[in-house]
Symmetry: C2
Subunit: 269 residues, 2 copies
């Protein structure tokens, strides 16, 4: 098998459909292409969820949605793509509890299922890599650390909650570069929302060493570095799982994204 | 002169241009049409401001913008409209201080001036009126009370700050109606962001009687009523005025909006 970066999106999806993609993550696959978080909800909550994304685009950047009951991903996002089979792993939730993790959700797909695709930070991380600003968690071969904040989302319909952010430490004199590099990625969280001690206070995060995140893995904030915080696609997932909606909710399993044909340059401003 | 509600937008603008619109506010004029907040900045800050709106659409719902140096409002928003003359009153700021209030800014308009039009809550208030849910400040013939919150905006480039919200008290059993009525007005702040005691705490507001707002006028929260909070167009205005940008910033004077040809039904989702 070739290097992950050079595997095409359609090949990743074919492997997923055949249950032959057995890697721990889709990160680093299909260089130059966008990856997406997945959320599947009953249709009666679709408009509230659309509004949640529209009102909170930094936390919930909506890249696309599928027609109710139709598992076909829009052609311009991914050709010949069935949302029920073409991700490596799915999590299935009911009443806020994880029921099961599966590689195929054909049995769970319903006539009123609506799938939403949400921008993923892997996209802007590639841009940081390209400029030599290696995300610490990649260097450490860990998951990115994530934190619950006290910042409320803009409520809509049945959905309300608080922002979750991801954190990457960088030297204090790299902050402006990091901001500029990630700013154009408006459909994949874009530039940071806060940084440093003051930023942590604003968000209500108290973990100066980066060793006690609420989700993901601990990291290392080294001498001369400060934490930088971005909007995070776990936010809509957590909001939907935590909300008391009827029926099941399906998401990608962490790290197991949908690899799109959509080019990274197409999600930039 | 006819009732304010039946004066056409073009007639309001003609009166403004002739310096003959001497009312305290444009509120209640041109029923069924949208009104807009105005912000004029030097072009070098335009992209950061656009991003601010895109990342904070509840506080900063961008309805349109003019080409740099061109004072002509886009035809679909308002026909034959010159942004320098067609509002009743303008505020001119430098370094965060109000320099002057004028009825015409032709002398202040520069080659690098860019004008932004931002949704205004007058639009959804008309919908509340129509359902018999009269905003208290209208009943009292006062300005709406507004509060600074502790909720950070999604930072972008040179701009950062905190949300400002407007508040209207309603009986507790009207909350769901009020939410539903204002929800569709996504380009004019939309549904409330928070309500009641818990909402006030989330926003960091401590004024249970509604008598000590940070902007606007005191109101009355009566027996059985709770405060309901919405995003507010004063937010981007305050962010821009408070930021340390070079050059002058011009806004509409409070209550003196641009009356657009754009219909209210065109700004609904």
């Amino acid at each position: 098998m070739p290097e992950p970066a050079s595997v095409t999106p359609s090949e990743v999806r074919r492997l997923c459909r055949a249950n032959e993609f057995n890697k721990p993550t889709t990160a680093a696959y299909s260089d130059g292409h966008t990856q997406a978080n997945l959320l599947i909800l009953p249709e009666k909550y679709a408009q509230d969820f659309r509004n949640l994304c529209m009102r909170n685009p930094v936390s919930c950047p909506l890249i696309g949605e599928l027609d109710p009951g139709d598992p076909t991903v829009p052609e311009h996002l991914a050709a010949n793509c069935d949302i029920r089979t073409d991700l490596p792993r799915y999590n299935i939730y009911k009443d806020g509890n994880l029921l099961e993790t599966k590689t195929d959700i054909t049995a769970e797909w319903k006539e009123d299922s609506v799938a939403f695709l949400i921008g993923c930070s892997y996209t802007f991380e590639a841009a940081l890599f390209a400029k030599g600003l290696i995300p610490r968690h990649s260097e450490l071969k860990r998951n990115v650390p994530m934190y619950r904040t006290k910042v409320p989302l803009m409520t809509t319909g049945v959905f309300s909650g608080r922002m979750i952010v991801s954190m990457r430490p960088y030297p204090v004199d790299s902050v402006e570069s990091v901001r500029e590099i990630t700013r154009p990625y408006v459909r994949t969280h874009g530039e940071p929302v806060a940084w440093g001690e003051k930023g942590a206070r604003t968000l209500g995060i108290d973990d100066p060493e980066g060793t006690h995140p609420d989700f993901g893995d601990p990291t290392e904030i080294r001498e001369g570095e400060i934490p930088i915080y971005w909007g995070c696609g776990v936010t809509p997932q957590q909001v939907v799982i935590d909300s008391e909606i009827d029926g099941i909710v399906i998401s990608h399993a962490p790290g197991h994204m949908l690899v799109l044909d959509l080019l990274v340059k197409e999600v930039c401003a």
